[in-house]
Symmetry: C2
Subunit: 339 residues, 2 copies
DNA sequence: CTGAAAGCGCTTACAG
DNA sequence: CTGAAAGCGCTTACAG
């Protein structure tokens, strides 16, 4: 039976080698003779020895911990991403230390201190913006930061997003092709790059087609705000015949409001979301939406941080992944387009 | 400008005190004169010093890290719990190291090793079972384990759940009071205590009322399985007039199937879930469900681990929190009951 | 209250 | 390949 805590020294004693030898056997790439390896492995097994990650971290300067700043978990996009991120990182020998953040910018500032206290090797920040001051501090500390699903103004940070401007454009073009005349936009939070980019793409495509949006309002990425916006839009004499909503999470609220008014999404009013979270495909919503390829975004983010950690040279990078419009029944499908 | 890494020795030098003094100033409860505190604080501020948590962990034996084993994040119950857990722990100076687990028992076994490598102070395992062998190992290592939303056969682990047997009973009584004649149960995974307990309570209440369930099947906590079960139940000549589903996540799938068949939940067939995740109150579902009070479950779990960590004596405990039936429109409401 | 010193469990030059 | 030794950044008795 293994005892509470076994150290490399105890293994060394049992194996009849030096403590350094034990360490080498457990350090990938270090040299040890086959005989030593065998003796050590046997002793370690017998004692139930496993290297103490924290001690290793102290001397090597690598904790194998990635700080993940996350918020807004009500939006199904993030739990899904979180799970994938954790799996991908686990597979490469890292683990995630979670920091739940307030959704505002200033909330993150205090977190960085704590993050650094734990000597994390890198930081992935999902769904939060970061001041460039913060970026600078992390950089000075030599900790790579990757923004996930959020861009950044100014230099300093890597980030991975989907092609949001283009996504917004695609949605507008789809809606225009569908013959909609009064297209409204309940935008993603205009304090975030994703919200702004999607809106910019949407407006650009409208302009290019010589159309003006029926209305453009900020849904703040909030169910409540989006629902209020939708109610507002529906109450006038003429109402929109299509609404592009800045993300799926808000789009569900909008659909709920539409139905509350006795209208049918996809017939009376087309609704298009952004993300393609699992719920979007469920029977109750069947939401047409611009899919953000989470798996590829996750892969990119993981590659980015780990590359910056493991090969110090690796420069920052901005990765943009293209999304695809997923056609379902919440929006009228233009003739000739196939589901 | 702070430099990359500042140590207590550097602060000591600048402040003109010993390194031990610096350490004391940053150790709550350690004694230092007002003058020393001031000199040290000033120097620390100037240099941008913060204690290295890992170094502190090494010597003190406390990492202030809680390992969280989690899976099944598609079920909105868990992201919600995760966020609350993280917030509660953060507030008390701990952080969560995430381990995503396969939903099976054996998957967790390997994780425990990794968990212990990081010298976590405690473990919270959500939505996973644990072999008693595993429990024993953690115990031997002196690491308290708390099962969240899962019970355990045999001794060794603390756990917090809602009152599942009673919850199942309440649902049955509600359905019986509603005058339903053919009540089916798509149960939670029978490999889990929650699934078994809810079913047991349900069956007991049925028996007590002299009723036999229309059918009882295992939904495995899976959308797909639950949907298949629902289709099965609906296709015969006589179909159930009520279905108690083992959790909300499956209940949504069941409602989707019911509507696909042109039936209306709450009119043609009553559906009752378990959990009361946020989605249950959204317009598209309005699911009647037995609420698990996540906030109280989280508080209890956090208290339990921290107590076991901070006062070594604290014994294991099994905490059961009562839930409440939330009446919405997915199920017929018995006369006299109020929403 | 305060400093010198030992030690937490490792990794990593440094000699051999 | 291998061992002795230094050192990672702290906390904590131990004297004073």
């Amino acid at each position: 039976m293994a005892k509470e805590k076994v150290t490399s020294a105890e293994v060394a004693a049992l194996a009849g080698v030096s403590q350094s030898a034990v360490s080498r056997v457990f350090t990938p790439g270090a040299s040890a003779s086959a005989k030593t390896v065998e003796k050590v492995r046997k002793a370690a097994e017998q004692l139930g020895y496993r290297p103490n990650v924290l001690a290793r971290a102290m001397v090597s300067g690598r904790s194998r911990i990635i700080g993940l700043v996350v918020a807004y978990l009500e939006n199904q996009f993030y739990p899904v991403a979180l799970e994938m991120l954790s799996n991908a990182l686990q597979k490469r020998g890292y683990h995630i230390l979670i920091f739940t953040a307030p959704n505002s910018t200033d909330g993150v500032d205090g977190l960085l201190e704590e993050l650094m206290d734990y000597q994390v090797d890198g930081i992935i920040a999902a769904s939060v913006s970061m001041s460039s001051d913060l970026a600078a501090r992390a950089q000075r500390a030599g900790i790579p930061v990757v923004l996930f699903n959020r861009g950044q103004d100014g230099p300093g940070l890597s980030h991975v997003t989907s092609a949001n401007v283009e996504g917004g454009r695609k949605v507008a073009e789809f809606l225009i092709a569908g013959g909609h005349e009064r297209i409204a936009h309940i935008a993603g939070w205009q304090g975030s790059s994703t919200g702004r980019d999607r809106q910019a793409g949407f407006l650009a495509a409208m302009r290019a087609a010589g159309k003006r949006p029926f209305a453009t309002v900020d849904g703040m990425y909030s169910r409540e705000v989006a629902a209020a916006c939708a109610r507002q839009l529906l109450q006038g004499g003429t109402r929109p015949d299509a609404i592009f909503v800045g993300n799926d999470h808000m789009a569900f609220a909008v659909m709920d409001v539409i139905r509350d008014q006795g209208l049918v999404p996809g017939q009376d009013i087309s609704v298009v979301g952004y993300d393609d979270v699992p719920l979007a495909s469920w029977g109750a919503y069947r939401l047409t939406t611009l899919r953000q390829p989470v798996n590829r975004m996750v892969e990119a983010a993981v590659d980015l941080v780990l590359r910056q950690i493991e090969e110090r040279d690796a420069a920052q990078d901005h990765i943009e992944i293209e999304g695809e419009l997923i056609l379902r029944s919440s929006a009228r499908i233009p003739e000739g387009w196939t589901k």
